[in-house]
């Protein structure tokens, strides 16, 4: 065994001096400094005023449980809106996601168009959607459901085509090799593979929608958000706490169902 040093490969100087890593770090630092300047961020101010931050938390730490019966109905309404909105959005998302997946659709142009459309939908702020649909459908659940449906559509379709792109192509090949049509292939080989992911993303979106309704209420799209705003307007933070906790329970339940279903469907 000779101890001579074998010839090592040459590294370009960019690699030897970690140019990329240093460059990225610098860029990050510069961006951070710029945004701190722009937003006037100053950690000291926050620390010295932390008691003011906590003041509201202290008020919230005594939830006014009697408020619960007031918000139960709007909470149901929130869930109902979220369920319908998410369902409509998710169902519409399926065909679009299939068409946007690069491993199912070879046609780049079609895929590009579909993706651009989906991107566009996702950029629409839900606030604006809510405002427009309130203007069209008036105050109430219809506007809320449609807003949530569009929001869910944008979100689910993206999550979904990303999942489709990671499926095992083996079963698709197997079906192709027995002479199956496209639709059959999707039905037999694609859908079963993504079903549990679909369910879990559906529930994830549902959860987001339940939370989103606290914001949508601000614009009159119904649900618990109206009461959140009212409690804040009355400086009634113990009621705010009840609203938050009630929402938390709903979200935890959805989370629990999601975890359970994921295990069952795995």
């Amino acid at each position: 065994m000779t101890e001579s040093t074998p010839a090592l490969p040459q590294r370009p100087w960019r690699q030897r001096y970690h140019v990329a890593a240093i460059g990225w770090t610098l860029l990050l630092a510069v961006l951070l400094v710029l945004s701190s300047l722009m937003t006037g961020a100053n950690f000291g101010t926050f620390l010295s005023n932390i008691d003011q931050f906590l003041a509201l938390l202290v008020q919230m730490s005594h939830p006014a449980w009697s408020y619960l019966h007031v918000i139960l109905q709007p909470l149901y309404e929130t869930i109902q809106m979220a369920v319908l909105g998410t369902t409509i959005g998710a169902v519409l998302a399926v065909p679009f996601a299939l068409l946007a997946a690069s491993n199912l659709v070879g046609n780049r142009l079609l895929r590009g168009l579909i993706r651009f459309f989906l991107d566009l939908v996702r950029t629409l702020p839900d606030l604006l959607l809510a405002a427009i649909f309130v203007a069209i459908f008036g105050i109430g659940s219809t506007a809320g459901v449609i807003t949530l449906a569009i929001f869910s559509f944008g979100m689910v379709s993206k999550l979904f085509y990303e999942v489709i792109e990671t499926i095992d192509m083996g079963p698709l090949e197997a079906l192709k090799s027995v002479g199956a049509t496209k639709v059959t292939i999707i039905w037999y080989a694609v859908l079963p593979q993504i079903l549990n992911q679909f369910v879990s993303y559906f529930l994830y979106t549902l959860e987001i929608n339940v939370r989103a309704s606290t914001v949508l209420g601000y614009l009159g799209a119904g649900g618990i958000g109206v009461y959140l705003q009212r409690s804040l307007g009355e400086f009634n933070y113990s009621a705010t706490a009840v609203i938050i906790l009630a929402t938390l329970v709903v979200v935890l339940v959805i989370d629990g169902i999601s975890n359970h279903l994921r295990r069952v469907l795995l």
Binding site: L31, L32, L34, S35, S36, M38, T39, G40, A41, N42, T45, F46, N49, I50, Q52, F53, A55, L56, L57, Y76, E77, I79, Q80, M81, V83, L84, D119, L120, R122, T123, L124, P125, L127, L128, A131, I132, A135, I136, F137, G138, I139, G140, S141, T142, A143, V145, R211, T214, V215, Y218, L219, L228, L232, T240, I244, T247, L248, V251, L252, D255
Partner: protein, 270 residues
């Protein structure tokens, strides 16, 4: 080849074949409750003229608002929104790492309590409305985009912590095992195996969350925590649709640009 049934009786489980019916009933129940519980408003009498004027406004955006040098135009507010989202997401990503380790369910038994409590805390943070957080921070640091940054930093922990902890749960533990078998201790395993393995996924989630923060920074504007949200809300409230149009256009351009940038970054990372 005769029938097989005598030598290999087919397993026939009634429950197994029909349990999906139960699911159908449950799901149908949920939906009838959801549909029955809401009262739907139809299309309004004013819908026609309202949508027409909305459409007209959106199609004739208020171009003068794009830049007017006052520092309160679309371009400066969009920049401000980006700064809020960027700084907020960055801080949030840092804080989320310990939260993720707290909430990740690893194989030990005692971990259930730890990860369970971590998960509930993360859910609470996620559920805590951004608006309320913003009010709390405005109380602490005054109105303006700094409060927005803080609100985004804290609120994003809820989601980032969850995503991070899930990727910790699902990661390939091979490299960790290798370091352990070579005699590494906990911190060596963490820094030499766990973090390098998980790093790209963390970055990718952070970018994803950044995109969301950009979009939702408009919500913060409602309470005066900075960004493009305030003028958007005002424009909506006063039904100035051409102003809404230009702001929307700005948001679309900004989000599309961010999306494609972060998409490219993410591809590079993985």
């Amino acid at each position: 080849m005769q029938t097989t049934l005598e030598n290999h009786p087919l397993p026939h489980l009634f429950w197994r074949r029909w349990h999906w019916l139960l699911w159908v009933v449950v799901v149908a129940g949920v939906y009838s409750w959801a549909i029955g519980g809401l009262h739907f408003t139809g299309i309004q009498e004013s819908a026609g003229s309202v949508s027409r004027s909305i459409l007209k406004g959106l199609l004739h955006p208020d171009w003068a608002y794009v830049y007017n040098g006052s520092g309160e135009d679309l371009s400066s507010l969009i920049l401000q929104t980006l700064a809020i989202a960027f700084l907020g997401t960055f801080v949030s990503a840092l804080i989320s790492v310990p939260f993720a380790f707290w909430a990740a369910r690893t194989d030990q038994h005692w971990a259930h309590l730890r990860s369970g409590s971590g998960k509930v805390v993360l859910t609470l943070i996620r559920t805590f409305p951004e608006i309320v957080l913003a009010i709390m921070f405005i109380k602490a640091v005054g109105p303006g985009s700094y409060a927005g940054v803080l609100a985004v930093s804290i609120h994003s922990i809820g989601m980032l912590g969850k995503l991070f902890s899930e990727s910790l749960e699902n990661m390939d533990r091979g490299a960790e095992e290798a370091i352990r078998s070579a005699g590494g201790n906990r911190s060596e395993i963490l820094t030499l195996a766990t973090l390098p393995t998980i790093f790209p996924e963390f970055i990718s989630y952070t970018l994803y969350r950044f995109e969301i923060a950009v979009r939702s920074a408009s919500i913060l504007g409602m309470v005066g925590a900075g960004g493009i949200g305030t003028p958007l809300i005002f424009a909506i409230q006063t039904r100035s649709w051409s102003r809404v149009g230009i702001i929307l256009l700005g948001i679309i351009v900004m989000v599309l640009a961010i999306d494609s940038l972060s998409e490219r970054l993410r591809k590079k990372l993985i």
